[in-house]
Symmetry: C2
Subunit: 675 residues, 2 copies
């Protein structure tokens, strides 16, 4: 009994009136799902997202949005078994679904954690420090990022229906943008279930998440300049969408992550018998067989020193010979099916083109054995290994991507040749270099890094923890230049900022402080009778300042400190030598003495809300303090962030000045405070 | 005698065979310049840039590139008089040319300084800290940026032929990318002279700079995925270029900065007589008249509280009445001509459209007086002020940009209304809010920041140093969402990174250290007999480590330190109170005592190459040190950068551990060392 897939728009499910698009099981060929042949009212869905979803998400602060993303991750994990079951229809083994489903939950968890740890407590991201735009310091510039007030339209690929959805949903929600998801038809039943799981978790505000299971129609006509389109899929579709007139006319932010001709390069040092040789063979086999090679990051080009070509070919043949293709439910099957018969036909066509310049050395695209399944009714295909012998005249191997368990070996002469060949791919998502030779890797990176979004250098030292060639990570950039589409996704905060708008704000220190919610140099200070160490986190007012009394730093202080700590550096102890120092011109106090005396001046000793000084940032010693100088300290509340129900972090701007009001040292002090 | 403009490609000037495109003086209508009607061989120029210019620039390190940019700035300043002379033909007053020419040199100087101060010594940008990708710390991820190996194609607007060229050239050269410049025909004679000045400075390597004075022909057909196209100009042209099939097919990075309907909002607090009212009037008049209003950031929409509309109108009329239009060489003229008669015709057309929903309150587009010039032969136009009375039904005022001395007053009800109206522009380069009311400004930013690339909040506090509504700054983002094109330019390092490729690199700590040239946590340490404080900057090897002996921290040390410094915080002094502290559970050593003892352990006291400890970064106290614990320190060379011929900065990774090898504190120490 096939599943009928519904759109979810305007906060309710809309079963299609005419569900006549059939999706068939990759394994049996039976109809698994029926979806609409017509889109819902996408203009209305976009309006709904902008009118309700966006404002609701923007009312939440970053920690609240992080909590929401975490709730989705938990809901997904709790019901992952449903998705594993559906995944079999898509030809996925348990391992394949683990990547997709657990990987998707992992991405959400990672984003929730990034949101909690790296984002502030408010709704606005402050990028970098404010900059003085004038000599007197009365006019500052500060870059901020705020939520874009449009809708994130996320068009996903068929191969990772859950993970691909999560990797984009997490950052958009954290950024405060509502999302309209358009999954690929071939696996829309998995995306639809995933969205049901998310909605049933009751974590999302109205309008925050919508789903279209079917064609987009003229949906792009209704995009505007605050929207973001994030596309994953083929270059041909990406190109068509990117060139839609509305994208350029309205200045819609458009990001594409397209398939690419990823390469893996074996270093010349990695002779048979080395750990790197074995790692290389393992990596190739894994990338060819996981998801039956239907991965945008999978290795398509196997680059091998010419002298090692025979060894690599032998090892790969041996390992690929152990791969059992068949019913993905079976434990004795290592590789399932392609997603559809159409996909298989396409891959076979591409193999035929590749065979124009590469010879088949393993696998036969036309003779298939499928364990426990009908090899013709299901979209099975064995791993196919090709070898390109005439490298000089080859071009198809660098341009044609067979999106299945297919890869081509390409011999190279030396490191420069390897880089040139790798770059012939015209930009890729992922490159791996398997070598223990640091110079080889560094030289290759110098010539090739700019052509790849991610580069894995794999060797014996990192193998135990390596996440592998093909795995994008939420905290690392995913996307690549040129053929890979030029897009950037994930990468921790970078991925979140993608759904926000960067704005340079200029104004007086007081105004910038008000807008950012953080104290700025030159902004007015407030003060009062109470020492700020007596105030709980919630009571601390930004800009509240404690001014200490003055303390003289004597020569005997310096000498005493030197002998006590052991720091008898000549600039503190030897007048003649210190006079020759180009920066001091005489004996000066230790920087650490200044820090220590500063604390002695501003610390309020009795137990109170300040639990600990846990760190310090951006300390600069600006003007030396000489014996007989007098120092004083101003301690100003710069920013704060509640991190737990009962405590949080306070960030203090500290400035130490001398008797002439000149700045001696400046730093930020970090304390943990009771909330 | 008109100037014949040449292309500069393949490292030589190519005078056109058929120079029949005429450019006429904006002031007299005489032919000033003749340019080619056909492009040079752009495919060859791009190949030349990629084959010679790119590699030559990439061989230079960042400080060397910064030096090159500085040399261009100096050459420009030295010959600015030539450009001022040519500028009169473009209708520019001295003040207008000052913005263009001195502004351009200023942008280059600013970039040179950013390059010198904020970029490392090598060729690769390290973005953020490396991240542990596994629990054991044996697998790291690090984002880096490397030069894109293509050509930067920079298509510039007519209004700032020098500044617009410089604002893009500086970042591209710093990033290591060769540049192909295509100026707008109307002022190509200024761009050509500027390029001649740069080339005659003999600072640029072959292939680094090329110029096309004429049409691009089918030049876009030859772009590839490592190229960057940076366009400034009209939305219509931007759209046509952005939709060129090669852009999407090859994944060419395309950035557009388009004209936009910038607004300036007067706060309701800024009553006549307040400093803000006067600032507002001054800002409007300046933006309407500088460059005869031909600025992509100029104020097109003057938003005024309804109650103040009459006052603002009166003040503007009075001030605009003092503006004398005419020959820009004359000292008694405040506003020159538009760039061409075609431009004037276009502006008149737009005014006619605006008059469909706004009434003319100052200036007559058809009656022009031009002091010392022929008002019909020259492209003169007086300042034109319009007023929109029926705001509800108005749309043209938010959509039609008259690119000249034209602006429309729009009354608003309250802050929310002002934000809504401002956002009707659909995305702009610059918004200004003139108010002394922080709450008004902050609320407006919350609703509107995402629609603007830059927001100036102007008030009495920052007026003395304010750079004004219309001035983009090299260290702040220039570009805006939506109608403004969605591009980002300048913004300090951000602008440089635009011409580089971001790549996530994964590998062992040793491998990441080798690739980045900086020590990484977990990378192998080297050591030797010599204390690193005995080594000059050039001798210090990344990873070289000094291990100190152990030192016990006694209770009497803690008490002594407390009384000496005055820091008698209870966690150090009162066992019962410290035991109640959730983080300590007993008396602990002061953080500053640990820092001071650490220095006592690692400092080598005699005069030597280390001149000063000038700062400290990222200090975290990780595990408390209790009385009787023993501490030791490892001091590792993390990174270094020569900043002057005779000295530079060394950055040390410092870790303090206890007798069980547990991490007590970690930080980065900054020293100034002799080179």
């Amino acid at each position: 009994m096939p599943i009928t897939l519904s759109h979810y728009v305007l906060d309710r499910w809309h079963a299609p009136e005419d569900p006549r698009i059939e999706t068939r099981s990759a394994v049996t060929g039976e109809v698994v799902a029926l979806s609409a042949s017509a889109p819902p009212d996408i203009a209305a869905a976009l309006r709904h997202a902008r009118r309700f979803g966006g404002p609701a998400l923007r009312r939440l602060n970053f920690p609240q949005r992080a909590g929401l993303v975490r709730a989705l991750a938990e809901a997904l994990l709790a019901r992952k078994q449903e998705l594993y079951e559906l995944g079999f229809h898509a030809g996925c083994t348990k391992g394949d679904s683990w990547f997709d489903v657990d990987g998707g939950a992992g991405a959400l968890f990672s984003y929730a954690s990034t949101g909690r740890r790296q984002l502030p407590e408010g709704r606005l991201l402050i990028e970098g420090e404010s900059e003085r735009l004038g000599k007197a310091g009365g006019f500052l510039g500060q870059h901020i990022l705020t939520s874009r007030q449009g809708c994130a339209v996320q068009i996903n690929a068929f191969n990772f229906p859950v993970w691909g959805l999560c990797e984009k949903l997490g950052p958009a929600l954290l950024a405060g943008m509502p999302v309209l998801i358009k999954p690929a038809t071939a696996t829309a039943y998995l995306a639809e279930r995933c969205v049901r799981i998310f909605l049933e978790a009751n974590a999302l505000p109205p309008g925050a998440l919508q789903l279209i299971c079917g064609p987009m129609g003229n949906g792009f006509d209704h995009l505007d300049g605050q929207d973001v389109v994030s596309f994953t899929g083929s270059a041909a579709t990406a190109m068509k969408l990117q060139r839609h007139p509305v994208i350029a006319r309205e200045g819609v932010r458009f990001v594409a992550e397209r398939d690419s001709l990823n390469a893996s390069i074996l270093g010349p040092d990695a002779l048979p018998g080395t750990p790197e040789f074995a790692l290389f063979v393992g990596e190739i086999v894994r990338e060819m067989t996981v998801k039956a090679g239907q991965k945008c990051t999978a290795i398509r080009r196997i680059m091998v020193p010419a002298a090692l070509l025979g060894d690599v070919e032998g090892a790969l043949k041996q390992r690929l010979g152990q791969i059992q293709v068949g019913d993905p439910r079976r434990d004795d099957v290592q590789m399932g099916a392609l997603v559809s018969l159409a996909q298989r036909a396409d891959v076979r066509e591409k193999i035929a083109l590749l065979r124009g310049e590469a010879s088949l050395v393993f696998g036969d695209p036309d003779h298939i054995e499928a364990k426990g399944a009908d090899a013709q009714a299901g979209a099975f295909l064995p791993p196919i290994l090709l070898r390109c012998d005439n490298v000089k005249s080859a071009s198809a191997v660098h341009e044609i991507e067979a999106f299945g368990p297919v890869a081509t070996m390409i011999p190279y002469r030396d490191g420069a040749d390897a880089a040139t060949l790798a770059n012939l791919g015209g930009g890729s998502l992922a490159l791996s270099v398997i070598t223990h030779d640091q110079d080889f890797a560094a030289a290759l990176l110098e010539s090739s890094a700019c052509q790849h979004g991610r580069v894995l250098v794999l060797d014996r030292d990192c193998a135990a923890e390596s996440t592998g060639h093909g795995a994008p990570l939420p905290n690392l950039l995913h996307g690549g230049p040129g053929r890979a589409g030029g897009g950037e996704e994930m990468g921790g905060l970078r991925g979140i900022m993608h759904y926000m708008q960067r704005t340079a704000v200029q104004g007086s220190p007081a105004m910038i402080a008000r807008i950012t919610g953080e104290h700025q140099p030159g902004a007015p200070l407030t003060t009062g009778a109470e020492h700020p160490f007596r105030q709980r986190l919630g009571q601390l007012a930004i800009g509240y300042t404690f001014h200490t009394p003055e303390r003289e730093v004597t020569l005997s202080d310096i000498e005493h400190f030197a002998h006590f700590t052991g720091d008898t550096f000549y600039a503190h102890m030897d007048e003649a030598a210190a006079r020759a120092n180009p920066l001091f011109g005489g004996r000066v106090a230790h920087g650490y003495l200044i820090l220590s005396f500063a604390a002695g001046l501003f610390v309020d000793p009795a137990p109170g809300p300040v639990l600990a000084n846990y760190g310090l940032e951006h300390l600069r010693f600006i003007k030396p303090l000489k014996p007989g100088d007098r120092m004083r300290v101003a301690l100003t509340v710069k920013a704060k962030k509640q991190t737990k129900p009962d405590m949080g972090e306070a960030r203090w701007a500290v400035s130490v000045t001398n008797q002439d009001g000149e700045l001696v040292a400046a730093y930020e002090l970090l304390t943990m405070n009771a909330a």
